[in-house]
């Protein structure tokens, strides 16, 4: 009997006014698999990711988690579902007005009633696992470097051990060494939690480090999806051009700019 996919998308579409960003996304992600979504800027990767945890509602199609449809389930069901997700945003999205410990344990402290002292202990323990000094918990996001903020965002995503982790460009804006460290932390966290992960990345070195499977979005559809090791021999010109960072190919500058203008 075939295993039920952890996440299954069928014919997912999303438009913003006249801009058709997603034109029919079909994708399956197996339990504990690490999928990386690649594609040019503005092609709809972030919209696709936000559809997965209900931040954006698709116009049509189906999204199933563990075989259960999540679209049209209502706010309460969506909130229950989100308890199973952890997510990091491209620019961290840490809460400026809260200290690090409260950022990391936000859901535990505010939603599940965990006491301050216990929340601080858990925050300190979690960020220590990610290579940050425990003393950082009393500082504010603006006092941390970009790399440290990414680690705190990662800590916030994994602290309550979610089943599914979403990472939106986790290494963007970081130097290659720090980016490598973040990748290693993501891989370690995924293994430790046994989580299914979906990552958006433009950084091919990062893709090779963390992906089991790669999917490329272009013009609102998945034009190729397959094991990361097959990425180089996909036979799809757009994938080849993207993977090798070539300026000549089917992905012209005009096309990319036209995509970006949509979002």
């Amino acid at each position: 009997m075939a295993m039920t996919p952890k996440i299954e998308l069928s014919a997912v579409t999303k438009s913003f006014d006249a801009n058709h960003v997603l034109k029919g996304i079909d994708l399956t992600i197996a339990p504990k698999e690490s999928l990386v979504i690649i594609g040019t800027s503005g092609c709809g990767k972030s919209v696709l990711m936000k559809c997965l945890n209900g931040l954006i509602t698709p116009d049509s199609g189906s999204i199933k988690i563990d075989g259960k449809e999540i679209l049209g389930q209502g706010r309460a069901a969506l909130e229950d579902l989100r308890q199973r997700f952890g997510m990091t945003f491209q620019f961290g999205a840490l809460f400026d007005s809260l200290p690090i410990w409260e950022n990391v344990t936000f859901r535990l402290h505010h939603q599940r009633g965990l006491g301050k002292s216990e929340a601080r202990d858990i925050a300190a323990q979690t960020i220590s696992q990610l290579g940050l000094a425990a003393a950082v918990i009393d500082r504010y996001p603006a006092e941390l470097s970009g790399g440290m903020q990414k680690r705190v965002a990662l800590a916030r995503a994994i602290v309550d051990e979610p089943e599914i982790l979403l990472f939106d460009e986790p290494t963007s804006g970081l130097d290659p060494i720090t980016g490598g460290v973040i990748d290693r932390l993501i891989v370690d966290a995924r293994k430790r939690l046994g989580a299914t992960t979906v990552t958006i990345s433009h950084d091919m070195a990062s893709v090779r480090r963390i992906a089991d499977k790669v999917a490329m979005v272009h013009d609102g559809v998945i034009i190729w999806a397959g094991p990361a090791r097959n990425m180089e021999k996909s036979g799809v010109p757009e994938v080849h051009q993207f993977v090798h960072g070539l300026s000549d190919g089917p992905l012209t500058r005009e096309k990319i700019l036209s995509n970006k203008a949509h979002l």
Partner: protein, 258 residues
Amino acid sequence: MLGFVQNIGRTILTFLAAFGRITLFSVTAVRWIFTPPYYWPQLLRQIIDIGYYSLPVVGLTTLFSGMVLALQSYTGFARFSAEDTVATVVVLSVTRELGPVLAGLMVAGRIGASIAAEIGTMRVTDQIDALDTLSTRPMQYLVAPRLLAGTICLPFLVLVGDVIGVFGGYIVGVYRLGFTPSIYLARTLEYLEVSDVTLGLIKAAVFGFLIALMGCYHGYHSGRGAQGVGRATTNAVVSASILILIANYVVTTMFFGG
């Protein structure tokens, strides 16, 4: 001619759409005020921001307004020998009109802008989306405490502003215009009714709600980047100020007009 009519129609539709959005936003936000969980630390922080830190601005504004009012009314009333009504004019003007309106406008500038900038920045840096992913309703966590704090704090600010404004009139009346302190105070209280103060406070509560509502609404729907946040901030202050003046007339008509 057709183009002119089209423009009028488009403007009316735009206005109605904005009115509908704001109404829906405020109804949703008010609903969350009364729905658990309650974020007490957030509410306390907003009360300190809106109430405590606005005291100097409101105090200075009403102090000098009371002083100017005493001077101006003395000059005007002297022309028909009614100088002894200065204290009464000052206290009624401050409690019924100047206190609530001036405090409202000053707080709209200070707090409306601050709320719009903070929530707008949270919008453009994905912090509001992050709240959603952490199973926290942004309307409940961000908007409801601000609306409640605005509605609670403005009456207190206005009450303090009323006292300071009347005191400003007293200083000018006694030390510059030569009134006897006991007579000035007696005239201040002689025609003042409790309803003058309480209805001024009701106005203040309405203004506080509107200031917080405009700050939250424009911040929540802020456009992208620094420009978007800047525009949201400007819109929050301008719309709150205009709504205060409109609401002032409406509330005055409702309570004093008859």
